[in-house]
């Protein structure tokens, strides 16, 4: 399940609410805004996303993960709007019976989410310039 959120991500609450009685292993990943990128001082970020396309694409990612790993559930929340340094940009949670599947699926989930979800990032730098970031 995927959510695009225009309000701050409360990772503690998301993590507490993401549960299953069969889940012996729970892995969370949290991506936060860092203060430097490619040698430049970043002051803030702007994220925008295409919500419906992101949801349909995450559903495909989830189906692929369920085929590959023995997981119970996977969820992802991505923030949009203006974020300051240290704020949470993305949260991923995986529930599984055992830790091997939980770790591996969480890693795959964030990698695929970053590569495939229609979400864009514009960085604002200390020198007043800004630019869209294009991951290869």
């Amino acid at each position: 399940m995927f959510t695009l959120s225009d309000s701050p991500i409360d990772a503690a609450r998301l993590s507490a609410d993401f549960a299953d009685q069969g889940a012996g292993a729970v892995v969370f990943f949290e991506g936060r805004v860092r203060n430097r990128n490619e040698g430049r001082n970043v002051v803030r970020l702007h994220y925008e996303g295409a919500a419906e396309i992101a949801s349909s694409e995450f559903a495909r990612i989830e189906a692929e993960l369920r085929e590959t790993y023995a997981i119970i559930d996977v969820a992802c929340v991505h923030r949009v709007g203006t974020l300051r340094i240290g704020e949470t940009a993305v949260w991923v949670g995986v529930l599984a019976g055992h830790r091997d599947a939980a770790f591996a699926a969480c890693r795959a989930a964030i990698d695929e989410a970053k590569a495939r979800l229609p979400i864009w990032k514009k960085e604002e730098y200390e020198d007043g310039t800004s630019g869209w970031i294009n991951h290869p």
Partner: protein, 84 residues
């Protein structure tokens, strides 16, 4: 080339929104697929990216450049993504 013009909804994001100064628009065009639609719009706008650097979504699903477009479809041209 399609036989009849169709009306589609086009959505713009990120660099594409800045290039068009629009979130989206209704376009009537004689095009068969998203590739032809993009090349046609490119004559009107100074898009910063070519199809080789974009992906396309049709009706909110990732699609391909040569899929057949139909009347009423929604098409989004997606710049390189940078989530996370």
């Amino acid at each position: 080339m399609a036989a009849e013009p169709i009306t589609v909804r086009v959505e713009y994001y990120a660099q594409m929104r800045e290039a068009t100064r629009k979130n989206g628009e209704r376009v009537r065009a004689l095009v068969a697929n998203p590739h032809e639609l993009y090349e046609q719009l490119r004559r009107q706008y100074d898009f910063p990216l070519g199809v080789e650097n974009l992906r396309v979504a049709v009706n909110q699903e990732m699609s391909d450049w040569n899929c057949a477009l139909q009347e009423g479809d929604t098409v989004a041209f997606l710049p390189p993504v940078a989530g996370g």
